[in-house]
Amino acid sequence: MNLSNVYELGTDNEMQIETGRPKTLIHIEGVNKEFSVNKNKITVFENFSYKIPEGSFLSIVGPSGCGKSTLLKLISGLETPTSGTINFDGQVISGPPKGMIYVFQQYTKSIFPWYTVLENIEFGLNTQKKNISKQEAKERCMEYIKLVGLEGYEDYYPSQLSGGMQQRVVIARALICEPKVLLMDEPFSAVDAMTRAILQELLLSIWEKLPITILFVTHDVDEAVFLSSHIISLGKAPIGLKEDIVVNLPYPRNQIDTRKSKHFTTMQLKLFSSIFSQEKGQA
């Protein structure tokens, strides 16, 4: 890897595609999104365009209320653009497409309270794999329960779990589906620092192993740099895309070695100062 090119701040997205990168999986074209609340119109996106390459790990950062969740919901097909289109694998998205799963920021409201931990995760599995024996299904669920560190809690109901444990149930329920695209909205917001570090590695190892594209919303610059191949920074409409960054830290990454590298620190500081100065300038 060319060392003078370890990070590319503000690189044009279009350019990357031309320079021999994987094909575009998700193409957002001229999207406008408006909400009306009490007869007031809120514009969240104004003529927003972006291409997401297949197999990328894209983190989305930006201030609260800038539209990160809205962007993921638009891509997931749960929300529809006021105008413009979003293409997924060559098809215009008009409803939740197969092979794409959105992990809600409001994880406590997304968990099924009448199901146990095991049943919640089994729900995910059942929506994807229809002909699988009961025994096999249970084994696979247990595997994921172990991965997210919930072994021994499989028969607990969500009401008996802590917030961070509930969040891990929701993550496992999505991961077990092995979707083509995983849209994760601040998925580690409620877990402690150590569990978070473990889950970050887990997510990375899954992403490195499977042909999966991950879109990941976070407020944590450190987390974004550690995980991502690409990072975009959003501003409130009409600003839209503020930064479009390629993170040229080699994979596989791990918590110790990746963090030790000088490029990691430089990258993190660069991104942080870029966002910070812009926020400060606006305030």
Partner: protein
Amino acid sequence: MLKRWPGFVLIIALLVMWEIASKTGIVDSVSMPPVSQVFTTWGGIIANGELLNYLLPSLGRIFSGFLLAALVAVPLGLLMGTTPFIYRLLEPITELIRPIPASAYIPVAILFLGIENEMKVFVIFLSSLFPILLNTYSGVRGVDPILIDTGRTFGVSKMKSLFKIILPAALPSILTGMRVSVGIALVVAVVAEMITGNSGIGYFILDMQRIFRVAEMFAGIFTLGIIGYLINFGFLKVEQYFLRWRGNTGGV
């Protein structure tokens, strides 16, 4: 159970006061025989099967009227809760009919259905219908959209979402509606039986009063208390079972 002892002490104290008041002539012992006599009589009509003969038809009516109501109200409520057009179509009429006391239907029902079982079951059905219907559709409308969207992102079909997500999410509300309904069903059954016919615990109580078997009348009233308590208790147990996921602190 142990924490309830003050309540039990009060009940026993009241019964003792009743006994003394009746025996010492503070109250007229013809209208209010000593409670010990009421209990003996109660035991007697239980033992000779007289009470059961009157009680069973009532329980049958309550059960069938309630069951019919649940079978109609739950699907209709699900439909109203999930289909805005059906909701806007039926909500006003439901809100208009609902406040009418169920006993007011009895004269109308007599005109169409006569004075026996059909009429009574129908009136019980109608009065049980609205609490279940109302609680079902408000429960369905109260389901968090995020829960429904979770189903959508996992590719769950609308039909499947109705049974796998909406129904269980609305279940606490539906069960509350059912519990309210059985309570009402008991009241309406007794009222209907007192108005016409010659069967049922309601008829028994009124008849005993007419022929001055006052102890039997009180025994009948006590029976209603016990039945009402048991029905409610049973329902709480059913709720506890179906809503065990709420945890101990969930409450209703």
